[in-house]
C-alpha cells in the first residue's frame, strides 16, 4: 500500500519498526501532492524544505535509538490562519498575502516539540469566514469526492488535503462549524474541542469567544493523537482552561454500553435532505445496537442560534479585523493621508464576505443598536448554553446531523449569503455553548459523504471520542478513499 494512504498511527508503527524512514513518508506525501494538488487545490503554500529537514532530524533520532513522540515524522497541514514563525500566514486574504509572522502559535510550537512534519499551509475562506472555502482570495479548493463540489468551509483546504491524502492529518479552526462541516463534506473526522481546551495564541482571530483550533484526520484514533499533541493549558491564552490534559487515546475503547445519547429534535430542521436525516438516524440506531440508550431531548432556543451567532461573531470580527489598515503590517493601499490609506487598504485588501461581516458587526455594536442586537444576542447565547446544560443533565452526549445536506456545487450558493449561512445551522449552537463536538462519516448520498455530529459536555472530549470510535470501528467508511474525480 502507498505510504500516503496510511493513517498516523499506522505510519508510527512503521517508523518505529524502521520499515520506513520519515523522509520516505514525507516524500511519499509530497509526491502525492505533486500528483493531485492541481485537481484539489488544498494548499496556499508548501513548506517542502523545512518539512524534509524535520523528517531527516526524526530519522536521525530513530537511527540513534532515541525515543520518538507519537506524531514525530508524521506529515500534516496547518490551516493558513495559524501562525508559523518565518512562514507566510495569509488567512486566505489579500490583506495578509505577504505577511510573515515573527512568532509561532502555541499549537505550532507544540507540534514542533512533537517533531511533526508540516507539509504546508492549507486554504481557507478568508479570515475563516465562510462555509465553502470559495471566499479564499487565492483559490477554490475542491471536494476530493467530487471535484465539482465544495469541500465545505472554512477549513476546506485542511479537510480536502486529508481526504485527498495530501496530508495525514491537519489542523483547522472552528468558529461556527468550520472544522466539522468540511470534515463531513469530505468524509473525514473533525473535532471542535471545548472552548479553552486548545490555546488560541497565534490563531489569527475571527471571533474570539467562539474560535477553537482542532484536528481533522482520517480516523478517530488519529484525532485522539493530534489532540494529545495540541490540547492543554496555555498561560498565553487567558481563556485557556487550566485543567489536566488526559491521554485521549485511552478513550478509544469500542464499548458504549450504557452511554446515554440525546437526540435534539430541533436539529432535524425543515428542508433537511431526507437521505441525510435517514443516515443520521441509522447511525443512532447502530449506536443503540452497540449498547447505547437514546432519547429525544428538546433544545428550544436552537432556532435562534444562527442569528445569535451572526451577531456575536461579526461584532467580535469587526473589532478583531480593525488592525488591518496597512500601517504596521499587511497590504497597504495608496492614499494621500492616513484615512484615505486605511480605507484603500481595507477596501482593496478584504474580500466581499469579510467586508459584509465587518459591516454587520459594526452595526450590531453601534450606539442606539447595541441593546437591540449585540446585548440581546449575548442574552440568547446564555439561553442556548442553558439548553445544553439542561440536556446534559439527562444524557452523556447529543447526536445530530452536521449539515442539512451533503456538499453542494461550487458556485451554487456564492450569490446567496443567507443560503450559505444556513449550512451552519446545526453547528453554531455548539460554539455558542463552548462545548466539544466531533464530526465523522456515517454514510453516503450519491457517493457524497454524510457527517454525524456527536456533541459532548464541557471537557467531554473523551466521551465523544469513545462514542465516535465505537461507531467507526463497526463501519468501514474511514477505509474508503476519495476518488478525486467528478461524480
Amino acid at each position: 500500500m502507498e505510504l500516503y494512504k496510511l493513517s498516523a498511527h499506522e505510519l508510527r508503527k512503521k517508523l518505529q519498526a524502521k520499515e520506513v524512514s520519515a523522509v520516505e513518508v514525507a516524500e511519499a506525501v509530497y509526491n502525492r501532492v505533486d500528483a493531485v494538488e492541481d485537481t484539489v487545490q488544498a494548499y496556499i503554500s508548501l513548506t517542502r524544505e523545512a518539512a524534509l529537514a524535520e523528517a531527516r532530524r526524526v530519522d536521525e533520532k530513530i537511527k540513534t535509538g532515541q525515543a520518538i513522540l507519537p506524531l514525530a515524522g508524521i506529515p500534516g497541514a496547518l490551516k493558513d490562519n495559524i501562525c508559523v514563525k518565518g512562514t507566510r500566514t495569509t488567512c486566505g486574504s489579500k490583506i495578509l498575502a505577504n505577511y510573515v509572522p515573527p512568532y509561532d502559535a502555541t499549537v505550532t510550537r507544540k507540534l514542533a516539540e512533537q517533531d511533526t512534519v508540516i507539509i504546508g499551509k492549507a486554504n481557507l475562506d478568508e479570515f475563516a469566514m465562510g462555509s465553502s472555502t470559495e471566499n479564499s482570495a487565492f483559490k477554490v479548493s475542491r471536494n476530493p469526492w467530487d471535484t465539482d463540489t465544495v469541500p465545505g468551509g472554512s477549513s476546506g483546504g485542511s479537510a480536502a488535503a486529508v481526504a485527498a491524502a495530501e496530508a495525514v492529518w491537519a489542523l483547522g479552526s472552528d468558529t461556527g462549524g468550520s472544522i466539522r462541516l468540511p470534515a463531513a463534506f469530505c468524509g473525514v473526522v473533525g473535532l471542535k474541542p471545548t472552548y479553552g481546551r486548545v490555546s488560541r495564541y497565534g490563531l489569527v482571530a475571527y471571533a474570539s469567544s467562539l474560535d477553537q483550533i482542532g484536528p481533522i484526520t482520517r480516523d478517530v484514533t488519529d484525532c485522539a493523537l493530534v489532540m494529545n499533541a495540541i490540547a492543554g493549558y496555555d498561560p498565553l491564552d487567558s481563556t485557556s482552561i487550566n485543567a489536566p490534559t488526559p491521554d485521549y487515546t485511552k478513550a478509544l475503547v469500542p464499548d458504549i454500553r450504557g452511554l446515554k445519547i440525546g437526540l435534539p429534535k430541533e436539529y432535524f430542521v425543515a428542508g433537511m435532505d431526507p437521505e441525510v436525516e435517514r443516515a443520521v438516524y441509522a447511525a443512532i440506531e447502530q449506536l443503540k445496537a452497540l449498547g447505547a440508550e437514546y432519547k429525544e431531548v428538546s433544545m428550544p432556543h436552537t432556532e435562534y442560534a444562527l442569528a445569535t451567532y451572526y451577531m456575536v461573531a461579526t461584532a467580535e470580527a469587526s473589532s478583531n479585523l480593525a488592525r488591518y489598515v496597512g500601517v504596521g503590517f499587511g497590504y497597504r493601499g495608496e492614499g494621500s493621508d492616513i484615512i484615505a490609506m486605511s480605507k484603500k487598504s481595507r477596501t482593496e485588501g478584504f474580500g466581499e464576505e469579510v467586508r459584509r461581516r465587518i459591516m454587520l458587526g459594526n452595526y450590531a455594536l453601534s450606539s442606539g443598536y447595541y441593546d437591540a442586537y449585540y446585548l440581546k444576542a449575548l442574552k440568547v447565547r446564555t439561553l442556548i448554553k442553558r439548553d445544553f446544560d439542561k440536556a446534559f443533565e439527562d444524557v452523556d452526549v447529543l447526536a445530530a446531523p452536521i449539515a442539512p445536506t451533503t456538499a453542494f456545487k461550487i458556485g451554487e450558493k456564492v450569490d446567496d449569503p443567507l443560503a450559505m449561512y444556513l449550512q451552519d445551522v446545526c453547528t453554531v449552537p455548539v460554539n455558542l455553548a463552548g462545548v466539544p463536538a466531533i464530526s465523522l462519516p456515517c454514510g453516503f448520498k450519491d457517493h457524497m459523504p454524510i457527517g454525524l455530529q456527536i456533541i459532548g459536555k464541557p471537557l467531554g472530549e473523551e466521551t465523544i471520542l469513545r462514542a465516535a470510535y465505537a461507531f467507526e470501528q463497526n463501519n468501514d467508511y474511514y477505509k474508503r478513499l476519495a476518488p478525486l474525480g467528478r461524480a
Binding site: 509572522p101 491564552d237 473589532s319 500601517v327 486605511s342 453601534s366 450606539s367 449585540y374
Partner: protein
C-alpha cells in the same frame, strides 16, 4: 447674571509597573524607539493579551486611597476607534464595570475644605506615539513609536464638583500627592505620566441643572489646566452674556496663544462601540486581598498633615507644604528621627533646602544634604557653635562638597566667638571708629545699634555671637 462654574476632571496616570499591562515588555521611559515591543503590544495577527496582576494591585491601592468601593466583579471592554498610534485600532479599557467607584478626596482652597467626589477609577492600556517629520500639518509622513503602547494607565474621573480653576489645580495637586504617596505613579506631567482632560460648563448661580459643557484637551501642565479653565470660564461667560448658547464640543488648549480652540463637535464625536473584551476573563477580586492591601496603605497626605500639626505643633501652612509630596514629608520625618526639633527642621526644609532644590532643579530624594546631615548642622547652631548666618554658609558648602557640617566648621574655622573677652576689643574699636552712630544711639535712635552690630560681625567675619555683641555694645554705650 452671576454664573457658577462646574468642572469635572478626567485624569490619566501611567502606573509604574515594571512591565506593560498585557505583555512582558518593559515600561521604561526614554528607551530607543520601538525597542520595548513584542507581537502582543504591536497587535500582530493572532496575539492575545495576558493581564498583568500588578496593575490590578496598583488600581486597588489607588481606589482605596481615594476612598472608593472596589467592585468584586469587574471586566475589560474594547473601546473601538481608529488611530494610527493604536496598533489594534481598539483600546482595551473598562466600560460599565470599572475596578473602583464612588470615592472622594478633600481639597483645601482659601482655608476652606471641599470634598470632590470621584465617580470611578478604571484600568486601560496606553497608546503609542506619532512622530511627525517637521510640523504636524505640513509633514509628509508620520512615524509610530510603539514603546508606550500597552503601558498601564488608570483613568480617574471626578464628579462635576469642582467650582473654579483654583480648585481644579488643588484637586490635581492632591491627587498627584496621593498617587505618589501610594507609590503607583511618578506623575510626571512633562513625561506624560499624568494627563488631564477637563469638562467645564457654567450655570446660573443657585441652579442645580448642568449647563452645556465643553471638553478641554491638551492640558499638559498644572499651569495649563488652570489657565485653560480660566480662559474657558471667560469664553463661556461671554457667550452666555451675549445671549448665545455654549456648544457641546471638544476644545484644545493652545498654550502659545493662550486660548482654547474647537477640535470637534458633538456630532463628530466617536461611537466607540464598546463591548466586553472576549480575550480576557472577568476580574474577580478576593475581599481578603483587598483588606490586605488596605492595611498596607501608607499614611496618606491628610493624615500626615494632621500628625505634623497635632504632634509637632507645625502651622497648618507649613504642614501642608511639607506633606504636599511624599518625598518631602519623608525627608521631614527623617530629620525628626535624627533628633531634630520639628519647628527648626520645618524652617530649614522650607527655607534653605527648598531654595537649593529649586535652584539646582533637584528632587528632594536626591538632595545631597541628607536629613541626618542637616540635623548635625542644626545641632551646631543650637549649641551656639556657629551663628545662624554662618550656618547658611555651611549649608551651601555641604550642598556643594558633600562634607558634613562639623568638618566644614573645623576646616574653615567658623566656630562662633561667644567669649566676651575676645569680642570686647573689636567692640571698642568699632565704637571709636563710629562716633556718629554712637551719638545717634545715645540720642534715642535705637536703630543705630544695628549698624554697629553689623560692623562687629563684619570684622569677626560673622563668627561673633550676635546676642553677645548686642549685649556688650549696649553696656559700652
Amino acid at each position: 447674571m452671576a454664573y457658577e462654574v462646574v468642572i469635572g476632571l478626567e485624569v490619566h496616570t501611567e502606573l509604574k509597573t515594571e512591565s506593560k499591562i498585557f505583555c512582558g515588555c518593559s515600561t521604561k521611559f526614554g528607551a530607543d524607539q520601538n525597542t520595548n515591543v513584542c507581537p502582543v503590544c504591536l497587535g500582530l495577527p493572532g496575539v492575545l493579551p495576558v493581564f498583568n496582576t500588578k496593575v490590578l494591585e496598583f488600581a486597588v491601592r489607588t481606589g482605596l486611597a481615594l476612598n472608593c468601593e472596589i467592585l468584586p466583579f469587574s471586566k475589560f471592554d474594547r473601546k473601538n476607534y481608529y488611530y494610527p498610534d493604536l496598533p489594534k485600532n481598539f483600546q482595551t479599557s473598562q466600560y460599565d464595570l470599572p475596578i473602583a467607584v464612588n470615592g472622594y478626596l478633600d481639597i483645601e482652597v482659601n482655608g476652606e475644605t471641599r470634598r470632590i467626589n470621584i465617580t470611578r477609577v478604571h484600568m486601560e492600556e496606553d497608546a503609542g506615539k506619532l512622530v511627525h517629520a517637521g510640523s504636524i500639518t505640513k509633514s509628509e509622513y508620520a512615524l509610530v513609536d510603539y514603546n508606550r503602547t500597552g503601558v498601564p494607565l488608570l483613568e480617574i474621573v471626578s464628579e462635576p464638583d469642582i467650582r473654579s480653576a483654583d480648585e481644579a489645580k488643588a484637586y490635581l495637586e492632591k491627587l498627584k500627592a496621593i498617587l505618589q504617596y501610594i507609590d503607583v505613579s511618578d506623575c510626571k506631567m512633562e513625561e506624560g505620566s499624568l494627563r488631564c482632560d477637563a469638562n467645564i460648563s457654567l450655570r446660573p448661580a443657585g441652579a442645580t441643572y448642568l449647563g452645556t459643557k465643553s471638553e478641554l484637551k491638551n492640558l499638559n501642565s498644572f499651569k495649563a489646566v488652570q489657565r485653560g479653565l480660566e480662559y474657558e470660564v471667560l469664553r463661556q461667560t461671554e457667550v452666555l452674556e451675549e445671549g448665545g448658547k455654549v456648544v457641546q464640543e471638544t476644545r484644545t488648549w493652545d498654550e502659545g496663544r493662550g486660548i482654547t480652540a474647537s477640535m470637534r463637535s458633538k456630532e463628530q464625536a466617536h461611537d466607540y462601540r464598546y463591548f466586553p473584551e472576549p480575550d480576557l476573563v472577568p476580574i474577580v477580586v478576593d475581599p481578603v486581598w483587598i483588606e490586605d492591601i488596605r492595611k498596607k496603605l501608607p499614611e496618606l497626605p491628610d493624615a500626615r498633615r494632621a500628625r505634623l500639626i497635632n504632634d509637632h505643633n507645625l502651622s497648618s501652612y507649613d504642614a501642608g507644604m511639607i506633606t504636599s509630596s511624599r518625598a518631602m514629608a519623608d525627608y521631614f520625618d527623617n530629620t525628626l528621627k535624627a533628633g531634630a526639633d520639628a519647628k527648626t527642621a520645618a524652617n530649614w526644609l522650607m527655607g534653605e533646602v527648598s531654595k537649593h532644590l529649586n535652584l539646582s532643579n533637584c528632587e528632594v530624594e536626591d538632595c545631597p544634604v541628607t536629613p541626618e546631615k542637616l540635623v548635625e548642622l542644626t545641632k551646631l547652631l543650637d549649641k551656639g557653635t556657629i551663628s545662624g548666618k554662618i550656618a547658611k554658609t555651611v549649608f551651601e558648602e555641604m550642598w556643594s562638597s558633600g562634607k558634613d557640617a562639623a568638618t566644614i566648621v573645623k576646616e574653615q574655622g567658623l566656630v562662633q566667638i561667644s567669649d566676651e573677652g575676645a569680642i570686647i576689643a573689636v567692640i571698642e574699636a568699632v565704637i571709636a571708629a563710629n562716633p556718629q552712630s554712637v551719638a545717634d544711639f545715645q540720642a534715642g535712635k535705637d536703630r543705630a545699634i544695628g549698624f554697629l552690630v553689623g560692623q562687629v560681625m563684619k570684622q569677626t567675619k560673622g563668627r561673633a555671637n550676635p546676642e553677645v555683641v548686642n549685649k556688650l555694645l549696649r553696656e559700652r554705650m
